[in-house]
Symmetry: C2
Subunit: 737 residues, 2 copies
């Protein structure tokens, strides 16, 4: 009996041991396969249709353009004078949506590839920039070129190039004027310009050019050159302004027209010199250079600050899958391609969530900054940064600062002037702990008559996938984030830092604070336009406004009517009503719905779009005399239009060269077409009104200069999608916490 | 010659070696003293004046209150019937500002301590709640009590206590009515209530109570009780409503008045039963319980999700200094005390920055949620959570989820019903990497005529100090953050999660989406009011509006007038103009300035207050028939008043008990007093309009339910304060990046 019982115990123990062993082995296998060597790369299901041209494609293309048969009369950029024609940007034209979807989601073949080539046509009395479309690529017998008119609703892909003689004017026309004033500028401003390497001053142009009575006008401002190696010259306005007429290509037609100092106009240098030599001439404060212009550490050291602050670590590598070649990513139910262009930088395409396309295209359209001021330069300064090429300013990122050390860094490159420019590590991808739970709940309550006790705490980690780039466009640095959340939301975030563009302090009280000895924090509005081609369960969607309105209602259960509030639903019927602002008191929701589909409770599935941080800004200035109709997207907070391949961008690089007749007039998109169950595109603005104060020196601080938009599922799934994650905890409040 | 040279070399080498040794030793010493064993605790310069009463104080106080000499006729709470008097909350009364500042910043002694004691007076035909002020503390011969009228602008610290007989009514009056209907509710709703432990249904009251023709009305709704242990009963409205008259203390005066089902009123159970038994009676959908109510993991597993996501680590301990006893913190130039109250939870006091007070008091005032609906319950539900005691719902935090593992956790405790309630680890303090730089700039440019090349990248870490609490007020979880930034900014952030309070779906289409079988995402507005007693370089300040306005201006340099924009500055002259909303298009800045002080460039130093994330909400409902004048703070986005010790809070726990004559009518604060160079208090709202959709199930997701306000320096220092940190990098773009 005893023996058999021992035997039984022995077998029982053996069984338990085997079970443990099995459990251990199976866990180990799982760990080894799933965790320790996870598949972190993958092959994109289809090719990326929105990345840069391949090196082969572009070198063949450029050789082809130089062939006499094409009749383009091109000179190699590095040898070109201002009287030659040369090649500027060369990049891929995104495919038509229909073709792209046929390939991506059906059996269609890869859409035929075409390039956009920008030609600078200097060999002409009326120099111009011309955009052509070349294809099919790669180069073959079938390849041809034609004017790339399709996306320019001006109807023409050519734009006057008033800047063709910039260098010549700088060296041969402006220089003598400013050199001749050197004795006065040395006294008044503390700097001189002779056009030499050791100049202590420089000239700032006001962009864009202006027209006056049919003449092309260029205003210039004297600025100090930083003497300490910092890129701070936008803080060194000096308040002396020159006006030139630069009409035409013949220097004989150019003229120095006037000089402005302390709000007084002088018609010539001689007149200014005379006034300067007259007793009583008012001399304004000079700029004072110093450490205040530098971003180096300064001021008292902070206690314990040299200890390492908390940083994020990633113990076992990334949890996203990446096809580096195709710039394709999969993460927690999301997948998308990353595109790139020299003008606009990084964009996202074919964003899928849980197997369905939710956004066909999401990307920057334009970065506008409109200044105001008492002087002709700060009054007129209006940047449209895509003209300068936002993508070309997306420099290498600083690992450990711009992005966590553990990020994946991708390269960008673009083709301009016949060269390929590489920007290593200019896109970073990383997961980030948001620093707060996406869901949490604690309950310790006694319930019902019975009073059964519950006590638990439940919480879910909020891990975010971030795709980040930074464009340092001369003085300003814009950090662009595309953030993906576990609840299916996508956030587009912009943060500003870098140097403000200041103005000279004198007479500028109504246009900004005085923030240094001779510096005004010249106030301005940033309007940063994005395109979101949202598709809710197919392309046919409707833009719904759900207004929350006060009302007085009668109810069967109440003798008297009650003051309350209710939902008022309406659709934006057509493009004439497609220009929107964010409502006062946030008392309205904007949702893109598919009204041909109902969820199981009878509601239409949709995505809501809503400002998530900062305050979106549209332009305050009405009918800007400088940007004219070149930036109509800046007049409201957001817009809805019907998708058209020909309405591919809300702006264009060429817009800035000719605001009098812009290549893309965004306002023409709004021509009464129905928006009911159509393919909709939402164009939204981020940005801010920026009244710089002393805290913007030396650089604007991101914490108070950021804004974002959230695009989130709305009655789209049956439950919150973040319930899928394993990164959660549920514990007994009374025994475990 | 050779020898003497060798000797020279030898001495030189020795010197170098010694220098190295010295450098090494001095570095080691520095490391050892400053870094490896940094002083992480400190003694607060003064005692905390805003924390809870000490245990000794409170036990003496309670004994004193029971003494017959005080004439309060109190019964120990746990023995009290509804016809007895007992003690509720017992807590410290904050000192007057003048006394506090005399102590904190001068030679004044510690302000005399007084307690606020809430007395529930049940032993009366008209039961009431009475607040008294007791002091000085600790108890001595000098201690007396008086009505605590001072902060109640009703002029009286007593409030009717209509809920005195709640338990009795529940057990003896409501129970028979619902039991008698059990057969019908079992059929219609699927649940029964007999007042037993195994009841499957419960009753929800509508708060606050209502008055009709002078009678006190209580509406009740049948709800399902969750069968799976989750606190989800707010998702289980059943659409059957009962109306009772509960006026007075005598049950003979109470009456069951009516029953409401499917928008039809029945005057008695019999009438309802008759209709129910009549053919054609419409039976609505029943609630369906299931996993959708649970916060457990559900749905498909996400790829790679079981790998650890990035988390924050803190290598060498905290970089703040803490006096745990006094709840006093110093961090990077900031210092402050943490206060606590049962009604309002955590607050911050005497916030100093760089040696100067910037905020005297920063704290929550009220959490209001106002619902709307077609039924009497969701129409009338209006929570003022301080009545329930927001601090008493600030439970233990989940380390690693609510706050990083490396956080410092503090305890709270409060005194209620003669007991001391401890809430361990209910405040967490931690530094956090914001996930983006506070400053960055890259420059690769060629400058001026001379074209000297620069290429550098500069970036600064954005480390934030967070003080966090979470209040799980029954169904909802509010996470409250006070964030401190290196640029001197302070952010107040609220995030919502937990269970929504739904409504029954039927006939509620105008008041929310149908989000489950029988559930409406009953729409509501959260208005979360905060007080910020900001002091800019002393108490005397002015609230400035800087409007950004479109204008057309003539300039000496332009023939034609130009459309532009400019700043228009104005002050809020007196309290009649002290009710504000956030402007359309963010085209106005609100800055609290000290106009008796100018910075070195002639501008007034100030702090700007601006929404940083989310969209602040004020109430949409006009003149709510339920909350009446008890929540006047909910009618605008923010308010400015002159500081008064008697206007200590914008609301009160008692307000909710008697909205017809609230103890604090916030509107009375606005009585025309001058606000020009006076001690100002800003009262601002966070919150949101919440139209719940399927993504709010099971819990609201924080990512789309958050809002914050930023209070930041404005022309206050000469430069951005974050330049002081050592946590920055500056590298050569061309050789190091
Ligand atoms: Ca679309
Ligand atoms: Ca104040
Ligand atoms: Cu700016
Ligand atoms: Cu809510």
């Amino acid at each position: 009996m005893a023996t058999s019982r021992s035997l039984l115990y022995f077998f029982l123990l053996l069984l338990i041991a085997l079970a443990f062993l099995y459990a251990f082995i199976s866990t180990s296998v799982r760990l080894a396969e799933e965790y320790k060597r996870p598949r972190r790369t993958l092959r994109a299901p289809k090719e990326n249709l929105w990345d840069t041209l391949l090196d082969d494609e572009v070198s063949q293309l450029i050789n082809w353009l130089y062939e006499p048969e094409q009749g383009l009369n091109l000179t190699y950029h590095d040898n070109a004078t201002h009287w030659d024609n040369f090649i500027g940007v060369t990049e891929l034209i995104p495919p038509n949506k229909t073709d792209a979807l046929a390939y991506l989601e059906g059996n269609g073949s890869v859409p035929t590839r075409y390039a956009r080539v920008v030609l600078f046509q200097g060999a002409s009395e009326d120099p111009y920039v011309h955009e052509i479309k070349v294809g099919p690529l790669p180069i073959s017998k079938k390849t041809t070129w034609e004017p790339y008119n399709y996306i320019y609703n001006k109807g023409d892909s050519a734009t006057p190039w008033y800047g063709a003689d910039d260098k010549k004017r700088l060296h041969e026309f402006f220089k003598p004027v400013v050199s001749e004033l050197a004795d006065i500028t040395y006294d008044l401003l503390g700097t001189v310009i002779y056009g030499q390497d050791n100049d202590t001053g420089g000239l700032r142009t006001v962009d864009p050019l202006q027209k006056e009575n049919g003449r092309i006008i260029q205003w210039l401002e004297f600025i100090g050159l930083p003497q300490n190696g910092y890129n701070a010259e936008t803080l060194l306005s000096q308040g002396l302004y020159l006006k030139f007429d630069i009409t035409g290509r013949d220097p004989k037609g150019w003229a120095f027209k006037a000089l402005l100092y302390n709000d007084i106009m002088y018609n010539s240098s001689a007149e200014f010199r005379k006034a300067y030599n007259t007793p009583g001439f008012v001399k304004l404060n000079k700029i004072v250079q110093g450490d205040w212009m530098t971003t180096k550490r300064q001021g008292e050291r902070l206690p314990l600050d040299e200890l390492p602050p908390p940083i994020a670590v990633q113990a076992e590598g990334p949890r996203y899958l990446l096809d580096v070649k195709n710039k394709y990513i999969e993460w927690m139910g999301f997948s998308f391609y990353i595109g790139f262009s020299k003008d606009l930088g990084t964009s996202l395409h074919q964003i899928m969530y849980q197997g369905k396309r939710i956004i066909y295209e999401l990307g920057l359209q334009e970065v506008m900054t409109h200044y105001a001021g008492n002087d002709p330069v700060s009054s007129g300064l209006t940047y449209l940064d895509s003209y300068y090429g936002i993508g070309s300013y997306m420099y290498r990122l600083i690992a450990g600062y711009d992005c966590p050390e553990y990020s994946t860094f991708l390269d960008n490159w673009f083709h301009e002037n016949g060269h390929t420019m590489y920007q290593r590590n200019s896109v970073c991808i990383f997961e980030q702990d948001a620093g707060y739970t996406i869901q949490r709940h604690t309950s310790t309550k006694v319930m019902g008559f019975g009073g059964h006790h519950q006590g638990y705490a439940s919480a879910t980690r909020n891990t975010v996938l971030v795709v980040r780039t930074v464009a340092s466009i001369d003085n300003y640095d814009y950090t662009f984030d595309y953030n993906f959340y576990l609840d299916g939301s996508i956030e587009v975030k912009v943060r500003a830092s870098g140097y403000i563009q200041g103005a000279f302090y004198a007479n500028n009280e109504d246009y900004g604070y005085r923030i240094h000895e001779a510096l005004s924090g010249s106030f301005h509005t940033h309007v940063i336009n994005f395109k979101a081609d949202i598709d809710v369960m197919g392309e046919k969607n409707t833009f719904e406004r759900i207004s929350l309105v006060p009302t007085t209602e009668k109810y069967p259960w109440s003798e008297k009517p009650k003051n309350t509030m209710k939902l008022k639903r309406s659709s934006i019927g057509n493009e004439d009503n497609g220009k929107l602002n964010w409502p006062e008191n946030a008392a309205e929701m904007y949702v893109i719905m598919n009204k041909d589909v109902k969820n199981k409770y009878g509601e239409y599935p949709g995505y809501r779009i809503v400002p998530a941080s900062g305050s979106p800004a549209h332009l305050i200035i009405q009918d800007s005399p400088y940007i004219l109709e070149a930036a109509e997207f800046s007049k409201h907070h957001l817009f809805v239009t019907k998708h058209k391949d020909s309405e591919s961008r809300s702006s264009s690089a060429a817009n800035y060269m000719n605001p009098w007749d812009p290549s893309v007039n965004f306002n023409k998109f709004f021509d009464g077409e129905s928006l009911l169950q159509e393919d909709l595109v939402v164009w939204f603005n981020l940005g801010m009104h920026h009244v710089a104060h002393t805290g913007d020196l030396p650089n604007t601080v991101s914490t108070t200069a950021q804004g974002s938009m959230m695009i989130s599922l709305h009655n789209y799934l049956d439950l919150d999608a973040s319930r899928q994650t394993s990164q959660m905890v549920e514990i007994n409040f009374f025994t475990e916490l």
